[in-house]
């Protein structure tokens, strides 16, 4: 953790990982707001947490498996109705393979 404010380059990198396209103005604004929030989080460093196990979920439940039986599914037509661009029974997307595939 660091008190330093995030550089515009770093904010752009995080934005790209977040799949967000930001203007220069947004980069500056979010950068300083995020720096303030991350600075506030410094207080967690005061704590001695050496012997504490992380807890991601209060339930403490492990994976629960359902019986491998077909259940009720949403019909394809219902999903086509909410998709932005379709060629039923498919959803249309720009070219996936090659440059810019986003993979």
């Amino acid at each position: 953790m660091s008190n330093e404010s995030l550089s515009p380059e770093y904010v752009r990198k995080v934005a790209k990982l977040s799949r967000l396209a930001l203007s220069d103005e947004q980069v500056a604004k979010y950068g300083s707001q995020m720096s303030a929030v991350l600075g506030y989080m410094e207080r967690l460093r005061e704590l001695d947490l050496r012997d504490v196990e992380p807890m991601a979920n209060v339930g403490g439940t492990t994976n629960r498996l359902d019986p491998d039986e077909p259940g009720k599914m949403l019909p394809n037509a219902a999903l086509m109705k909410i998709a932005p661009e379709t060629m039923p029974p498919f959803v249309k997307v720009p070219k996936v393979l090659g440059e810019g595939g986003g993979a």
Binding site: V14, A21, M34, M55, V93, P94, V96, G100, G102
Partner: protein, 461 residues
């Protein structure tokens, strides 16, 4: 046959909409009646739903341009249970976009206003639900509480807001924000109405793998029975905080009232209370960044128009930048940052350790006490626009509520008095926190106070 309550409720909603902006959508009375089972414990009860709860008719927008035109093909389990119990859904209420906020101002439909003072926020993120109940439009609204989003608006609007134990109510059909913290809750004028609604919506659901199999006891019939030998914990840190003086006064008067009712007040330590915000604003954005990755402009939600030469990656980025408002973008980026390699241990893993310690602190208190009493919010409702430019100041609103979600405990806000601020009387709530799955006793403890005080009977002019 009892008098129709659906028509008058819709009429009130429409009349107050220009003043409060509590709703993002209202249904017609016939649709509301027809969609209800027409019988059951909540028969004829008009209810409002926070618009992050899926309903198989109308729109489910999350107050986001991303889902502005989204029509859910299915209904949330908790909502279906209300319909099966005879309730009628009259409309969907405003919220902070994707439930991210503490003021109900981060909405693509504009802010909701507090019925007690329309220059002030109703709290958030379930602000529309709280305003609708406080204004007398509906006797029950559902909200969701990830870090206080039911309890804080309930406090600011002078009503009862209950966040059940994590896993008590199915999250199936609740649009996910932070899945290990999210829980559906109730907003009602009184404790009794909360108990009746919770009796309906609690319980196991095979469609939510984190839904608990713990049996749900009768929440209603024992409600009037006071808790004998009640030991109520008051954290020292909740008194030493920089509370608004009027909140501090109401809190001390509440403690005195419980003492008068025979409770033993036990001073306890909640050493990590001040670290709750820091831990929460790591864990919640981390989970949000992952949950909201699904909104990519492909299968549903907003899809941006592509220019020449733009590709699939641009489609993701443009759709998300156009669809999400600033607070959602900020939290996604915060979450992405704290989970990124090199920072994971310093932030996310540290927050998860703090989370365990918080849970242990509560366990220690509950070995000796039946509930914890603390403020629901450090201040009464603030002015619209007062905190919108400073996200950190807004986050600090949640100091008393976020810790409870991290620990997965049930908690509720109850009306406890009024703050005199700039010549206005603003409601102030206090919060009760109970051991996991102990909602029945928590409601009884709340009812003891409610029966002895007039605060829940006051309504805005």
């Amino acid at each position: 046959m009892s008098a129709d309550r659906i028509g008058p409720s819709l009429a009130a909603a429409e009349r107050l909409q220009p003043t409060l902006n509590a709703f993002v959508q209202l249904f017609d009375a016939e649709k509301a009646r027809n969609a209800s089972s027409g019988s059951g414990p909540l028969v004829g009860t008009p209810v409002a739903l926070k618009d992050n709860l899926c309903l198989s008719w109308g729109k489910t927008t999350c107050a986001s341009n991303m889902l502005r035109h989204y029509e859910s093909p299915y209904t949330a389990t908790a909502v279906q249970k209300l319909l099966d119990a005879g309730a009628a859904v009259i409309g969907k209420t405003n919220l902070d976009e994707f439930a991210m906020g503490s003021s109900c101002e981060n909405s693509c439909f504009g802010p909701t206003f507090n019925p007690w003072d329309t220059t002030r926020v109703p709290g958030g993120s379930s602000g529309g639900s709280a305003a609708a109940v406080a204004a007398g439009i509906v006797p029950l609204a559902l909200g969701s509480d990830t870090g206080g989003s039911v309890r804080q608006p309930a406090s600011h609007c002078g009503i009862v807001g209950v966040k059940p134990t994590y896993g008590r109510v199915s999250r199936y059909g609740l649009v996910a924000y932070a899945s290990s913290l999210d829980q559906i809750g109730t907003l009602t004028p009184t404790v009794g109405e909360a108990a009746a609604a919770l009796s309906v919506i609690c319980g196991h659901d095979p469609l939510d793998t984190t839904s608990s199999r713990e049996p749900v006891p009768d929440l209603v019939s024992a409600l009037e029975q006071p808790v004998e030998g009640l030991r109520l914990a008051v954290p020292r840190q909740a008194r030493n905080q920089a509370n608004h003086p009027e909140v501090a006064r109401v809190f001390e008067e509440t403690i005195a009232e419980y003492r008068r009712l025979g409770a033993t007040i036990v001073d306890v330590e909640l050493p990590l209370l001040d670290h709750g915000i820091a831990a929460y604003y790591i864990v919640a954005p981390a989970e949000a960044s992952s949950n909201l990755a699904r909104f990519d402009g492909i299968r549903y939600g907003h899809r941006a128009a592509l220019g020449p030469g733009e590709d699939l990656f641009d489609l993701y980025c443009k759709s998300r930048s156009e669809g999400f408002g600033p607070e959602v973008q900020r939290r996604i980026m915060l979450g992405t940052h704290v989970l990124s390699s090199g920072y994971y241990d310093a932030y996310y893993n540290t927050a998860l350790k703090v989370r365990r310690r918080m849970k242990q602190d509560f366990d220690r208190i509950f070995a000796d006490c039946q509930a914890v009493l603390m403020p629901a919010s450090p201040s009464p409702a603030f002015k619209v626009g007062e905190k919108t430019s400073d996200p950190l100041a807004m986050y600090l609103e949640d100091v008393y509520t976020v810790t409870i979600n991290l620990a997965g405990l049930p908690a509720m806000s109850i009306p406890a008095g009024f703050a005199s601020v700039e010549g206005k009387q603003l409601p102030v709530g206090v919060q009760l926190v109970s051991p996991a799955f102990d909602e029945a006793r928590m409601l009884r403890i709340a009812r003891m106070f409610e029966r002895a005080t007039p605060w829940h009977t006051r309504r805005p002019a």
